[in-house]
Amino acid sequence: MAYIKKVFAKLVFATPILFSPLAFAEKSDYNMPVGVTDVSESIFELHMVIFWICVVIGVIVFSIMFWSLWKYRKSKGAVAADFDDNFWLEIGWTVAATLVLVWMAVPSTQVMVEAYDDAEGEINILITGHQWKWHYEYLEDEVGFFSNLSTSQEQIDGDVPKGEFYLREVDEPLVIPTNTRVRFLITGNDVIHSWWVPDFAVKQDAIPGFINTAWTNVPEPGIFRGACTELCGIKHAFMPVVVRAVEREEFDAFIAEKVALAEEERLLTSKVWTKEELMARGESFYSVNCAACHQANGQGIPPVFPALAGSQIALNDSSKHIEILMEGVQGSAMAAFGDSYSEVDIASVITYTRQAWSNGADGDGVIVTPQDIVAYKNRIDL
């Protein structure tokens, strides 16, 4: 058995070498990326092995077919033979097909076992898919952030030239250390998304209510770009994945900075905010997180995404306004923002939408502060 396995392994891995002048093993725009991890390289090799087996079978089958079509054409005077089966021939090709499949199954199983491993990592990162951005949380250090597309709407609309990384760039990439086993815990907040980084050969669905695992171990620093690969709504194509792999020291510094920033955020909550400060912060939050649906001018895309400009809630009902931001709207695309963002962010965006456009003049003009959000949370907790 061990001998058979060895022969198989040899046969399988000899296949691409036979065709090495043709094998386009280099990273290219028309083949699967080799990637940078052991798993991605194994998968690439497996892909090429299966590909070449298919090519060989295809060449044999098509040669026989086109040769028959040429040789036995009636215009050349071919007379039809009169046979319609051959028992041993049929048994023969059935057995041959089975053997080829076993030949394919052996390395496939090996690579699958190599790739499949849900043991804990040195670093564990919770990845949450949102409509339409990714949230990354470092579980050991309890810090996290959102990663949004940074390509401008003007580039998408063609008003300005498109940049080199059009639709493949984000405001804040995921940062991971090199030469470290990193485990990803992947889930969805609203609909199903799928987190894919081709260079790691990691593609895992982000499903609400489930936590899937995947892992990688990146040997060298670099920037790796991926995408969302499960249809998740109108901005499905606009939530790329960008991962920056850095040396361990740089990673530790990054985390330390994140922890410090989070502490600063917490202090901001107790600060007394002016209307102007809230407006400024709210406007930038709005353009990143809200404008996709409700539009920059607050008009929304009715009836799916309601207008905020002139909305009764935004004009005169601040407590309902807070509730919607915190809890979302059941049965609609409006997500609950309460668990994902700081009190400061929520307060500032509410204040912004109550003042922007002509809402401030038309409505009660109530300013919502971070303390109001804290009070709301405390009330709910009771």
Partner: protein
């Protein structure tokens, strides 16, 4: 039915006049014609949507449509092509050909037949009307994964669910009719293992339909409950399971894939034996291969879900079971080639389409085999590689089968030969454009372009422009097909009863006049 029917003549049983002929018809040929025209019209509607998709994808950036409408286009293109083009076309061919191939006067249940057709325009009328509603039509992909299709769907999803129910009823009624006809109305002497392969392919397909359409009805009903009645089948927040949706959907979906290809296997077998002037090689292995494919189709569904997070044993089971399908499929391809081997081959249009079918369907089979390999599928899944794969098996596969059947039997149906020069022109334009359209999709997919994207990164631009050019060419070429069909119906060289040289021995349909009498066989023929 095995008693000899006395020959009698009550004057002429012709069709009724005017619109009522089509509304109230119970004649298998009229209903077959209705199905085929319906499918043809839907081909242009679904194809028009594909043109919108390709126009938007011609360049990176958003130029022509917004993502919201783009998603409606991809969703409805898929739904219409699957349920409105391929399936009705095969049912239309079954209606026309089954009674003529088994020596019967008509289908067993003619009124049911009328109902199952007229449900379809209703179903698709409802579906397409959603595109004109304020919230827009279904936008969650033809696979409509929950919760995007439930909690996050536009309210028009309810019309979509109703329309799927109506399509399901239509398919189930049609299948009951086909099974009943095949079992009860065969000519004396035609044992099961003497049935033409198209009849066999449809018998197996009809069983698949009866097995899985209720599953589809079940899954859309669960959606309906989640959306309107507060249940949580697929809502994780209520204790439900979004992955359950995918398991149930694909338990329907995978047999559905074979529903869309098995009848084409039957058609291509007939055409290859006719134009090779040699009986089909390995008839019984052809039957067993189709039956094996049908049975295996029930145990491979989760290969559509390799990235949802299944346990290792599950991933491996579905990989192995999927790879097994390559065996019966391979046997069929080998048999077709063995039929051509030492034949006396001519290359009329139906044969050209059938040869292209064998070659290009095999390419789709190879990419299917690659997709079955779980670890590699992590890289292929939900990219254009998958789009290339299923278009290779559905366009040069199922659709070429249907076009080949139309050229093959059109002279029988109308009594007029089609224009061979135009037919060949249609073939070559179609063959070239189909490959220009779908072959580069393998490359963009491998290079990392996900499917269902209205906009994409710059490195995919060249291939996408090429794909779009191919798609426009393919779309325009089908107008030529429409022209050829209409021209053949209106005029053409008178076709002989056997139509194709030597076809008289190949099946009962070639013993009837061209066009055949309104009630195909009023006297049952004897099959030796």
């Amino acid at each position: 039915m095995s008693t000899v029917v006395e020959s009698h003549d009550h004057g002429h049983h012709g069709p009724a006049k005017g619109l009522s002929r089509w509304l109230f018809t119970t004649n298998h040929k009229d209903i077959g014609t209705l199905y085929l025209w319906f499918s043809f019209i839907m081909l242009f509607i679904g194809g028009g949507m594909a043109m919108v998709i390709r126009a938007e994808l011609f360049q990176p950036g958003l130029q022509i449509v917004q993502p919201e409408f783009f998603n409606q286009m991809t969703t409805n293109h898929g739904l219409i092509m699957v349920f409105g083009v391929i399936m009705p076309a095969f049912v239309g061919l079954a209606n026309w050909m089954l009674p003529m191939q088994i020596g019967a006067p008509d289908m067993a249940l003619p009124r049911l037949n009328n109902l199952s057709f007229w449900l379809l325009p209703m179903a698709f009328g409802i579906l397409i009307s959603t595109l004109f509603m304020p919230e827009g039509g279904p936008n969650f992909g033809w696979t409509f994964y929950a919760p995007l299709s439930t909690t996050y769907a536009p309210s028009t999803v309810n019309f979509f669910i109703f329309s799927v129910h109506v399509m399901g009823v239509s398919s189930i009624l049609g299948s009951i009719n086909i099974i009943t006809t095949i079992f009860n109305m065969r000519a004396p002497g035609m044992t099961l293992m003497k049935m033409p392969l198209f009849v066999w392919s449809w018998l197996i397909t009809a069983y698949l339909l009866i097995a899985v359409m209720p599953v589809l009805a079940g899954v859309v009903t669960m959606m309906l409950m989640d959306i309107n009645f507060g249940t949580s089948f697929f809502n994780a927040a209520g204790g439900g399971d979004p992955v359950l949706f995918q398991h149930v959907f694909w338990f329907f979906g995978h047999p559905e894939v074979y529903i869309m290809i098995l009848p084409a296997f039957g058609i291509v077998s007939h055409i290859i034996e006719t134009f090779s002037r040699k009986p089909i090689f390995g008839y019984s292995s052809m039957v067993y291969a189709m039956a094996s494919i049908a049975i295996l189709s029930f145990v491979v569904w989760a290969h559509h879900m390799f990235t949802v997070g299944m346990p290792l044993a599950g991933e491996l089971f579905f990989m192995y079971s999927t790879m097994l399908i390559a065996i019966p499929t391979g046997v069929k391809v080998f048999n077709w080639i063995a039929t051509m081997f030492r034949g006396s081959i001519t290359f009329e249009t139906p044969m050209l389409f059938s040869i292209a079918f064998v070659a290009l369907f095999t390419i789709g089979g190879f990419s299917g085999l690659m997709l079955a390999i779980v670890p590699a599928d992590f890289q292929y899944h939900d990219t254009y590689f998958v789009v290339a794969h299923f278009h290779y098996v559905l366009v040069p596969g199922a659709l070429f089968g249907i076009i080949a059947a139309a050229y093959y039997w059109l002279p029988k149906w109308t009594g007029n030969m089609y224009d061979e020069t135009l037919g060949k022109l249609h073939f070559w334009l179609t063959f070239i454009s189909v490959n220009v359209t779908f072959f580069p999709m393998h490359f963009v997919g491998l290079a990392g372009m996900p499917r269902r994207y209205p906009d994409y990164a710059l490195q995919f631009a060249d291939f996408n422009a090429l794909i779009s050019v191919g798609a426009f060419m393919f779309g325009l070429t089908q107008l030529l097909f429409l022209f050829i069909v209409i021209k053949t119906i209106r005029s053409g060289k008178q076709a002989k009863p056997e139509v194709w040289e030597g076809a008289g021995d190949l099946g009962l349909e070639w013993t009837l006049s061209s066009p055949p009498p309104y009630h195909s066989f009023t006297v049952q023929p004897q099959v030796k």
